[in-house]
């Protein structure tokens, strides 16, 4: 287990380093001059040169990269060109919003997918199965932003049950949860539709195995067999997909936060790209990458926790 953790942790660090290199190169190769967007198109070339020197943009690319990484490691991502405050404080301010949304979206995704997938598997080739498969086909086909607008029209505008957007902060938990409901549903529908299918096929595979027959011969109820014996054995492919989907969820928040007007990282990223706020964009992309890589790191550890046979092999 120790060696396993060491290997995974070094992989984690290497991945983030490669991401930082790609992000930095892309941001610096793409056309667009930050000094132009800060000073405006009427600014003189001299003024821009002064600013460029002050921002350190005149140094060679490699030197700028090393400086950036070195500072980033200390939590210093520079100051935002547009907001004039440290990028890190912008991120810290908005991270809880995005994490709440992503985690609640993931929780709802997993809950829906397991219930639907296991139900479908237990009614294999019967109406219950077809119903779930039809629903999931619909879920996969519907674009998240369109679904968001429908949800707002129905539950916020017409029924007035839930707020149409915005986030009051966690000081008022009740209001915060209410504000999160619609974005969470919009985020989870597509993801859970995919995951329900994975759950169904994985469970069907496990249901054919001999130990399920042993469980049946032991007189256990259908529910106990499905949730207690089949599901745990079907989890490995399911959490693999959960890990991959978490990336989709985090990037999905970019769209959802803009539709629901939520002050999170996704919205900040969208604004920063529009404003050519390079340092903020770089930091945000790194942030998203770190979240996704962390999720996959956790999935790798979960494998070993679920299956005792992997523990022996991972030493």
């Amino acid at each position: 287990m120790g060696y396993f953790l060491f290997r995974r942790t070094s992989g984690f660090i290497l991945t983030l380093l490669s991401v930082s290199l790609v992000v930095f190169l892309v941001m610096n190769i793409l056309p667009g001059d930050p000094t132009l967007s800060i000073l405006g198109i009427e600014s003189t070339e001299d003024a821009r040169a002064v600013l460029r020197a002050r921002l350190g943009l005149d140094a060679p690319l490699a030197e700028r990269y090393v400086t950036w990484v070195f500072h980033a490691l200390q939590g210093d991502f520079g100051d935002s060109y547009t907001h004039g405050v440290p990028v890190i404080s912008l991120i810290v301010e908005r991270l809880p919003m995005t994490l709440s949304l992503a985690l609640s979206g993931m929780a709802l995704t997993v809950l829906l997918a397991l219930v639907l997938g296991i139900t479908a598997a237990s009614y294999h080739k019967r109406p219950g199965d077809w119903g779930v498969m039809l629903l999931s086909q619909l879920g996969i086909a519907v674009p998240a932003f369109w679904l968001s607008m429908l949800l707002v029209l129905l539950f916020a505008v017409k029924l007035r049950w839930l707020p149409p957007g915005g986030f009051p902060g966690w000081d008022d938990p009740r209001a915060a949860v209410r504000a999160l409901i619609l974005p969470t549903v919009a985020l989870a529908v597509v993801q859970s539709a995919v995951l329900a299918r994975v759950t169904r096929s994985s469970a069907l595979e496990v249901m054919r195995l001999d130990f399920v027959r042993t469980a049946r011969a032991s007189g256990f109820s259908r529910r106990r067999i499905l949730w207690g014996h089949v599901l745990p054995n079907a989890l490995i492919p399911i959490i693999t997909i959960v890990g991959l989907q978490f990336a989709g969820l985090v990037t999905g928040t970019i769209v959802i936060e803009n539709v629901f007007y939520l002050p999170g990282l996704g919205r900040l990223l969208f604004q920063s790209i529009s404003n050519r706020d390079f340092l903020t964009v770089q930091a945000l992309v790194m942030m998203f990458a770190a979240i996704v890589v962390t999720a996959n790191f956790l999935v790798d550890i979960a494998y070993v926790l679920i299956d005792p046979r992997l523990k022996a092999r991972s030493r």
Binding site: F211, T214, S218, G219, P232, N233, D307, P308, R309, A312
Partner: protein
């Protein structure tokens, strides 16, 4: 305690098991032999109420006087483990790989008897002791993949015995095991049946395992019981040509016997969907009569004191000693 009358398992119009009658009382040990595809596993699954979807069961299955042939899945579940338990051929895959052995064997106790975790643990240790699993305290914490095949089969037996069933069905319990381990497992089953006064239905294609384990024997072929009787007598003087064929196809070590080719029964068990209209063994039988292909033979008394369904037994002019031709 278990009584079966006219039991058939059908796939549409075809019968995988045809009109089987049997009964096993407390402490009795009944064997079922036959090749793969003879319907013996299907018979066992029918007795557990576990035939695969799409198959139908006809006839009467009476357990402790209650007819279960039309019982729902929930009713059956109440009988499984507590009245009838079953162990399977593949000890390697028959245990949930993610659970500790102790938890696996304790589960039926917790579910069916509602006893405390601590009491269940004590009971599991007693079961391990009874089924000859050494080092019980350490085994509780181990996972199935850490055990050998023989140990896993013992765990399966302990699991089956957890709720004190009155009948244990063992479907080819020794097939996947080494010969010397198989021997110990069959001895264990006999001992458990004696000590617990538990009925045992032992299914195997291995005649020596069956002869060591059981008192009474059914020989199945193509879903039919072709011969039945006391195991010892039946194997000593088989009446049905199929039983004789099975016996002579057994490898033996004989003194002064030079190298010989192992006799086999020609052909294979006919497909369920392609059965002959008369005796199902017709076409593979070395003593076939003209009547065999047309008429289904009825059971008749044999010299071994049992019954066999074979036209040879009703032929006055034919050899009626029941001795198998060599």
């Amino acid at each position: 305690m278990i009584e079966v009358q006219n039991l058939s398992v059908r796939v549409g119009d075809t019968r995988a098991v045809r009109r089987v009658n049997l009964s096993i009382g407390a402490g009795e040990r009944l064997g079922v032999v036959g090749e793969s595809g003879s319907g013996k596993t299907m018979l066992a699954l029918a007795l557990m109420g576990m035939v695969p979807d799409g198959l139908t069961v006809d006839g009467v299955i009476r357990i402790d006087g209650n007819d279960l042939s039309r019982a729902s899945e929930t009713t059956w579940a109440a009988y499984r483990a507590q009245k009838i338990a079953m162990i399977f051929q593949e000890p390697m895959s028959a245990l949930n790989p993610l659970r500790r052995i102790g938890d696996i064997v304790a589960e039926p106790l917790l579910v069916h008897q509602g006893i405390s975790r601590n009491d269940a643990r004590q009971k599991v240790l007693a079961l391990f002791d009874e089924t000859g699993i050494p080092d019980a305290n350490r085994r509780l914490q181990q996972y199935p993949h850490q055990l050998s095949g023989g140990q896993r089969q013992r765990v399966l037996i302990a699991l089956a015995l957890a709720c004190d069933p009155s009948l244990l069905i063992a479907d080819e319990p020794t097939t996947a095991l080494d010969a010397n381990i198989a021997l110990r497992i069959t001895d264990l089953l006999v001992r458990l049946s004696r000590e617990r006064q538990m009925a045992l239905l032992f299914i195997s294609h291995d005649l020596s395992a069956v002869s060591r384990t059981t008192e009474d024997l059914l020989v199945m072929y193509g879903g039919d019981i072709v011969e039945r009787g006391k195991t010892r007598h039946l194997l000593a003087s088989p009446s049905h040509p199929y039983t004789s064929g099975l016996l002579s196809a057994r490898p033996r070590i004989e003194q002064n016997a030079g190298p010989r080719r192992l006799p086999t029964i020609p052909g294979t068990v006919p497909s369920l969907f392609d059965l002959p209209p008369g005796c199902r063994f017709a076409g593979r039988c070395d003593r076939e009569l003209p009547i065999c292909r047309a008429t289904i033979p009825q059971p008749a008394a044999t010299v071994s004191g049992g019954f066999a369904s074979c036209h040879l037994l009703n032929q006055p002019s034919q050899d009626q000693t029941g001795q198998a031709p060599r």
